[in-house]
């Protein structure tokens, strides 16, 4: 969909179909993410963006379709291959997902501790390095419960990048934060891409943040990609559902009186 010159592909999603129970969530999503770009997956609540992210992370198994990360089909590989792949990717979860029984420093150190044979001092230095990057220096001995919302997101980012991953996923990195902190997290994501050359996938519903950081935006609605392109292309899109999302308009609902009555009386529908 873009006119950019061919670049190496980092993530390839092919015709992904997924169900939650009997409910169809993703209706054949195809998506390519190129090396070194920031792709923002945008969409309203219930659009399927969290589900898509969980599939990219290999946390859910799709009904059909393929997900390839760094050339590896994550639903059709050996556990060892998947484990090796996961050392090359970092994930910052929406709520941080820091382990509450460990200090911030231990949280950030965990991937190093589990996957490398570095000595403790080296690991501590690497942790402090990453904490400097996310502007959390000096907080390594606090417990996650003692951190503010913005600090938790920063700590989660630090843990996600401690192994210097090629691929970084951020789930709602600026949701629920005040505008200043939220903007600083956006800057941080841009810095990570520029300084470390990471490929970054960000899931968000915050328009401002999406426009600021994205190289390309993928708009998801009701389990389908309704637009995919550069920030300008998305702004100029003449798709009504895209424009509704951008302008915070509610969808015009065509009223079907019979269906409405059936819903109210609970007789199927």
């Amino acid at each position: 969909m873009t006119d950019q010159p061919p670049r190496s592909v980092t993530i390839e999603v092919e015709n992904l179909v997924t169900h939650y129970g009997d409910r169809l969530i993703l209706k054949g999503v195809s998506l390519t993410v190129y090396d070194g770009e920031i792709l923002v997956i945008m969409g309203g609540s219930g659009s399927g963006k969290s589900t898509l992210l969980n599939h990219l992370l290999g946390l859910l198994r799709p009904t059909s379709g393929r997900v390839r990360l760094l050339g590896l089909d994550i639903n059709d590989c050996t556990p060892l291959e998947l484990q090796e792949l996961r050392k090359k990717m970092g994930v910052a979860f929406q709520g941080g997902a820091l382990f509450s029984s460990m200090t911030v420093g231990e949280n950030i150190m965990l991937p190093l501790y589990e996957h490398t044979r570095l000595d403790r001092k080296t690991m501590e230095i690497m942790v402090r390095l990453k904490m400097e990057v996310v502007e959390l220096a000096g907080f390594e001995n606090l417990m996650p419960a003692e951190l503010s919302g913005g600090m938790i997101k920063r700590a989660a980012l630090a843990r996600a990048i401690v192994m210097d991953p090629k691929l970084l996923f951020c789930d709602e990195p600026s949701a629920g934060l005040d505008p200043v902190v939220s903007a600083s997290i956006d800057d941080l994501i841009l810095r990570l891409r520029d300084a470390m050359g990471m490929t970054i996938v960000v899931v968000t519903h915050e328009l401002e943040s999406a426009f600021k950081i994205a190289d390309r935006i993928c708009v998801l609605d009701r389990g389908e990609i309704i637009a995919l392109g550069s920030v300008q292309e998305i702004r100029d899109s003449d798709n009504e559902r895209v424009q509704n999302l951008l302008n915070r308009r509610t969808e015009e609902v065509t009223l079907d009186v019979d269906a409405y009555l059936r819903r109210l009386t609970g007789e199927g529908g």
């Binding site: 060892l80 996961r86 382990f99 991937p111 589990e114």
Partner: protein, 266 residues
């Protein structure tokens, strides 16, 4: 007719769900053993630190309450034993009853129930909270097996500490009973312990320890299964925690009965 069908459907669904959970539990146990032995080869060894931390919490911190319960039960058994044997004028035989029932039954059972209530529930609550905070997902995407990281340490700690606590419960329970017996029947403690040793065979001790090791596995797996099935926020954690205690205690009592039936009748 319609209600009958409805009932049949509900029973069927509940059964399928129960079998599903049993299978999940068995798979978890298998996977735990896999990581325990194969972990080092996959460069994911089970760490010793968390095992000791869990052993401390499950075992050492439970010592005071186990002591109180075991002494109380020992005294209770002595009182009831002397009362019932008095009918035959056979009070002197009470030591036989106390020693066998404490070592073979009460010590493992009380320890199991107490650990299920104290640590099984805590395990379910911890895993449930971690699950809804996406901490389990975080482990998986870091390439760290949640089973190795979260399940194997408490499992090992339980398998060591529950039999150890059971042994302690046997010792203090027998002593508590002995104090009552010596006061009531004018028997010296030395003579009491001698009688206990005469009565007990190594078979009886094995019976008690064997059961307690099985209880340890049951408590851990039930706690983990219920923690892993948590859905629906804080309320869900509470519900599954309660459920894990009820399930663990039921599993312990039923397994106890089956164990006794299989081992004792032979």
């Amino acid at each position: 007719m319609r209600r009958l069908l409805h009932l049949a459907e509900r029973v069927g669904r509940a059964t399928a769900k129960g079998v599903d959970e049993l299978g999940f539990g068995a798979a978890l146990f298998g996977e735990s053993l896999f990581w325990l032995f194969m972990g080092p080869r996959r460069r994911q060894p089970v760490r010793v630190g968390p095992i000791f931390a869990q052993a401390m919490e499950i075992g050492i911190h439970a010592l005071p309450i186990i002591t109180v319960l075991a002494v109380t039960i020992g005294v209770m058994l002595a009182i009831q034993g002397i009362y019932s044997l008095r009918a035959f004028g056979a009070e002197q035989q009470v030591v036989l009853g106390i020693a066998l029932s404490l070592v073979r039954e009460f010590a493992p059972l009380i320890t199991g129930i107490l650990v299920a209530g104290r640590s099984g529930s805590a395990l379910a609550a911890r895993l449930g909270t971690m699950r809804i905070n996406q901490e389990v997902d975080a482990l998986r995407v870091m390439g760290i097996s949640p089973v190795r990281f979260l399940v194997v340490p408490p499992l090992l700690a339980m398998v060591v500490m529950v039999p150890a606590l059971t042994m302690w419960a046997m010792l203090v329970g027998l002593t508590g009973a002995g104090l009552y017996v010596s006061a009531e029947l004018g028997m010296s403690m030395g003579a009491y312990y001698q009688q206990v040793l005469d009565v007990l065979a190594s078979n009886d001790l094995l019976h008690g320890f064997g059961k307690s090791a099985i209880f340890a596995v049951l408590i851990t797996i039930v706690g983990v299964v219920n923690g892993a099935l948590v859905a629906g926020g804080a309320e869900g954690v509470g519900r599954m925690t309660t459920r894990s205690v009820v399930h663990a205690i039921s599993a312990i009592v039923i397994t106890d009965m089956i164990f006794v039936f299989m081992v004792t009748r032979g």
